[in-house]
């Protein structure tokens, strides 16, 4: 028993028949083949699977693919522009060493974009609060905070 869904991912349209229980993260990774978003906990606590659905950052491990029917989805693969120029949050993470093992990074990038979309010049506290739903076990967050600060600066 499957359902047909149509979504737009990183600007491209997709239509697939999926099981109703298929999680959005598994749809993105295994059906569409976009493996940039990661699974760190399956319980929405680590944020490695964060993507944007209709402009809002969500944890795709706790959303069914069928719930995204009709939605426009942005994943880490779609952050850079068409010419391949990295988004300013990617530049920030690159320049400020905002990643080590890289596993949480896609989620961190997506949530960092969301932080800046909502508040172009956040304070350190506001950045930390914005990052709070995403776990990183490598960096201690300081360079991630600096990366978001650098991205904010690049946006003004």
């Amino acid at each position: 028993m499957t359902q047909t869904i149509s979504v737009t991912i990183n600007g491209k349209p997709y239509t697939h028949d999926v099981e109703p229980r298929l999680l959005l993260i598994h749809y993105l990774r295994e059906v569409v083949g976009l493996t940039g978003s990661h699974i760190g906990c399956e319980t929405s606590l680590c944020g490695a699977c964060t993507v944007e659905v209709d402009g809002r950052a969500i944890k795709s491990c706790t959303m069914f693919a069928v719930q995204a029917n009709g939605a426009s989805i942005l994943t880490v693969e779609g952050l850079a522009d068409a010419s391949g120029k990295m988004h300013r949050v990617q530049e920030g993470f690159w320049n400020e060493h905002g990643l080590q093992c890289g596993f949480c990074t896609p989620g961190m990038l997506m949530v960092s974009k969301q932080i800046l979309d909502r508040n172009p010049s956040p304070t350190e506290t506001e950045i930390r609060e914005g990052l709070d739903g995403n776990l990183c076990r490598c960096t201690g967050y300081q360079h991630i905070v600096k990366a978001v600060q650098a991205a904010a600066k690049a946006g003004v």
């Binding site: 298929l22 990774r29 319980t43 060493h97 080590q100 093992c101 990052l131 776990l135 076990r137 201690g140």
Partner: protein, 756 residues
């Protein structure tokens, strides 16, 4: 990684690939009456179900450590007649996708005869405790003793002896990427390829080949991008062998990806100590002796290094101090819990926490300033190399200088004055110091379970591009960058021309791997030495091309000292591969391989100071300032180094404040998800003020010491000392970790009923 195109294990997809799901015991101790796989095997989409009987020819889990008189459990990859811990594998289901595999795993029916379990190390030693392993009724795996100097005489001569029981609670490594593997069998070649999330590709290959009965050279093991390890991937686990077995049986690739819940239950954990410390001193604060009795929770069986970890604690127990008389005893005990093993710091955090707490306990007893008592007991700068009472040889250091820098940075004297004022107002303000040392760059081969050397190959390609093959296996430590820097500096080539490859046993010469803060200090030195061989050959070929006997190599050029004529390394590389003419005593090509055996460990050290305040109404600890000054020898990449230290501190603060793998008396892990197991989040971390001093290590030509674990080791005692200092006006002399708000609130409420 920034664009979502990096390949981790779960990103690998192969034609006809199947998925495995493990069936795990929900009980910590039980006899297995029967395992009924019939419903699971009949489930649509299921290709195979294997039990312990099916897989009995696969070898048991390997432990690389032998201690005198040690009892070593035989731990098969799938249980047959008895389970020893929650999460113990009793069957594996292989199916067309992960959903079906998980569905069918639920259909495997296991009839258990549930037994009493042991949920902690002191419970294991209690009178009448159930036996974890029925053949060893006392639950003791080994006893270990180490003495240095004459502790009895020292304690007899002391003016003051302080004693304290301390717990270093179990913590979960929790890399953001769980474990996982994909195995693919090529029957015609009798060759197996395993992609697995590991820190030790070559050692894992050797061990798995042995378990599976394969020729080592026909097993290709690849560590793709690895999403953090922290010691827990310095191991070979049952699942890697089970998935390989299934792939070999079925003839198609099989993937298994650990869920986070499985990671909590069945990946090794760290710490798990109950320690009894004693410190003896003269009235003036001079430490004359240290004793510790360690009860180590080993878990239900041994993973690769399980029994060795507490012996590292013993080595580190004198800390940075001139403590000439030491006595340590370890009792290693079995529990019905997942094994402990090397987790970031591995034995040194427990020891450093102990000695740094004891120095504070002693200072409080003597009414001395904790800074003053440390200065009084430091090994002095002119004492290096310094032979410790535990048999180590500290390489270099100037502890007083580093500590002074940290005190000056935080403004210690003024801070104490402010604290005195705050205390008068009834505020709970603490200043916590940790002057830590550690053992890094593991290490000399006789001291490391599988060898402690490291290898490197440097290949200058015909175009002059440089490829480095390193035996270490970085997974966030940044050696791809650091080694490219070393090559860039030595060969005078742009860093972008250098490619660092690792983690594929078919490409890279045998290596040991990444752990024990050894990547740059040991692996980097092998790279450096191979580069020296390359330079020697470059000069030989440059001399020929320049027709000179007097050339130097600098900035990527061979230069004739007489004429000033030069030839680039790129031109030399092309000539060396074209080989129209070959210098005397040389040969074509420009490749060098070196294996480097370090003569000693390295000994980074530092001073961490934390200024904190506790809210008496909530018990919440606020870190107001965190100053760390770390001496890790020469620093090759400051940004990477600071990243390691910040991350390390998030672990150490986690242990001090939040993290605790709690097993109940039935051996159930109560904190088995991120919901229950608190780790540092961005909002919980303070801004860290990090700086350095530098005493280069004489152990390696780079003068580096290692930094991966320093932040973890240094931070925990500073945090706990800060909180205990804040509570000192209430008469508190020690609080066991983690220092949760509830725990502190109860302490404060008991002594200050009016505050609430």
């Amino acid at each position: 990684m920034l664009t979502g195109t990096a390949t981790y294990v779960d990103d690998i997809k192969m034609p006809n690939m199947l998925y495995a799901a493990m069936v795990r015991s929900p009980h910590a101790a039980a006899n297995i009456r029967s395992v009924d796989i019939s419903k699971a095997a009949a489930h649509p989409g299921v290709m195979a179900v294997y039990t312990g009987v099916d897989i009995k020819d696969v070898g048991a889990i390997v432990c690389g450590v032998e201690l005198p008189g040690m009892r070593k459990p035989h731990h098969t990859v799938i249980a047959t007649d008895r389970v020893y811990l929650v999460g113990h594998i009793v069957a594996v289901v292989v199916a067309k996708d992960r959903y079906v595999a998980a569905d069918a795993a639920d259909l495997v029916e296991v009839d258990y005869d549930v037994l009493d379990a042991v949920g902690g190390p002191e419970q294991a030693l209690a009178e009448g405790a159930p036996a974890v392993h029925p053949q060893w009724a006392d639950n003791i795996a080994f006893k270990f003793e180490q003495k240095g100097g004459d502790t009895d005489a020292a304690f007899a001569s002391a003016d003051v002896i302080c004693k304290q029981r301390m717990i270093s609670q179990r913590m979960v490594a929790n890399p953001m990427e769980t474990r996982g593997c994909v195995a693919s069998w090529h029957a015609a070649d009798r060759a197996l390829t395993i992609y697995t999330s590991t820190q030790i590709p070559h050692l894992a290959r050797t061990i798995l080949a042995g378990m599976l009965g394969l020729d080592e050279n026909r097993l290709r093991l690849i560590a793709p991008e690895v999403g953090g390890g922290f010691g827990c991937k310095l191991n070979v686990y049952p699942e890697e062998a089970i998935v390989s077995f299934a792939a070999m049986k079925l003839g198609v690739p099989v993937k298994w990806i650990e869920t986070r819940r499985e990671n909590f239950l069945s990946t090794i954990q760290g710490r798990g100590h109950v320690d009894y410390w004693e410190i003896a001193a003269k009235r003036d604060g001079t430490i004359v002796g240290v004793k510790v009795k360690i009860i180590q929770d080993l878990g239900a069986y041994f993973q690769l290094l399980t029994p060795a970890i507490p012996t590292l604690s013993v080595l580190m127990m004198p800390g940075l101090y001139n403590a000439r008389n030491i006595h340590a005893e370890i009792v290693g005990v079995f529990t019905n819990c997942v094994p402990t093993d090397a987790v970031r710091g591995a034995g040194r955090p427990e020891a450093t926490y102990g000695i740094e707490r004891m120095v504070d306990v002693l200072a409080a007893e003597l009414k001395m300033d904790p800074a003053e008592i440390r200065f009084k007991n430091f090994v002095a700068a002119d004492q290096f190399p310094f032979a410790t009472a535990t048999g180590l040889n500290y390489d270099s250091g100037d502890y007083a200088n580093t500590f002074t820098k940290a005190l000056d940075t935080i403004g210690y004297k003024k801070l104490r004055e402010e604290q005195a004022t705050a205390r008068k107002q009834g505020r709970l303000v603490g200043i916590g110091i940790s002057t830590y040392g550690e053992i890094c760059a593991m290490g000399p081969s006789p001291a490391v379970a599988a060898g402690g050397w490291e290898s490197a190959t440097v290949k200058v390609e015909p175009s002059g591009k440089v490829t480095i093959l390193t035996g270490i296996s970085p997974h966030g430590q940044g050696e791809e960058t650091t080694f490219a820097q070393i090559a860039g500096d030595e060969l005078g080539v742009p860093i972008d021309d250098v490619l660092v490859l690792h983690g594929d046993t078919s490409i890279v010469q045998y290596g040991i791997g990444t752990f024990g803060s050894r990547g740059t200090a040991v692996g980097g030195t092998a790279v450096y030495l191979a580069l020296q061989d390359i330079k020697e050959k470059v000069i030989r070929w440059g001399s020929m091309l320049l027709d000179s006997n007097d050339v130097r190599f600098e900035g990527g050029m061979c230069i004739d000292n007489a004429s000033g004529k030069s030839v680039s390394i790129q031109t030399i590389a092309a000539a060396a591969y074209r080989a129209m003419k070959i210098p005397t005593h040389s040969e074509p090509g420009l490749v060098a391989t070196r294996f480097w055996e370090p003569g000693n460990f390295t000994y980074p050290f530092g001073a961490h100071i934390i200024h904190s305040e506790i809210d008496p109404k909530t018990g919440q600890v606020e870190i107001k300032r965190y100053v760390m000054v770390d001496d890790i020898g020469n620093i090759l990449n400051p940004m990477i180094v600071d990243g390691q230290l910040h991350g390390g501190a998030s672990w150490g603060l986690g242990q001090a404040l939040w993290e605790h793998a709690i097993y109940d008396d039935a051996g159930q892990l109560v904190t088995g998800e991120f919901m229950d197991y608190a780790m540092a989040r961005a909002r919980m971390m303070p801004w860290i003020e990090s700086s350095h001093t530098c005493t280069p290590s004489p152990v390696n030509p780079l003068g580096v010491k290692g930094v991966g674990e320093a932040g973890t080791i240094g931070s925990t005692p500073a945090m706990v000392n800060s909180v205990v200092d804040a509570l000192a006006p209430l008469g508190v002399t020690h609080v066991d970790m983690p220092l949760t708000p509830e725990k502190l609130w109860r302490i404060i409420s008991a002594s200050q009923p009016e505050a609430n």
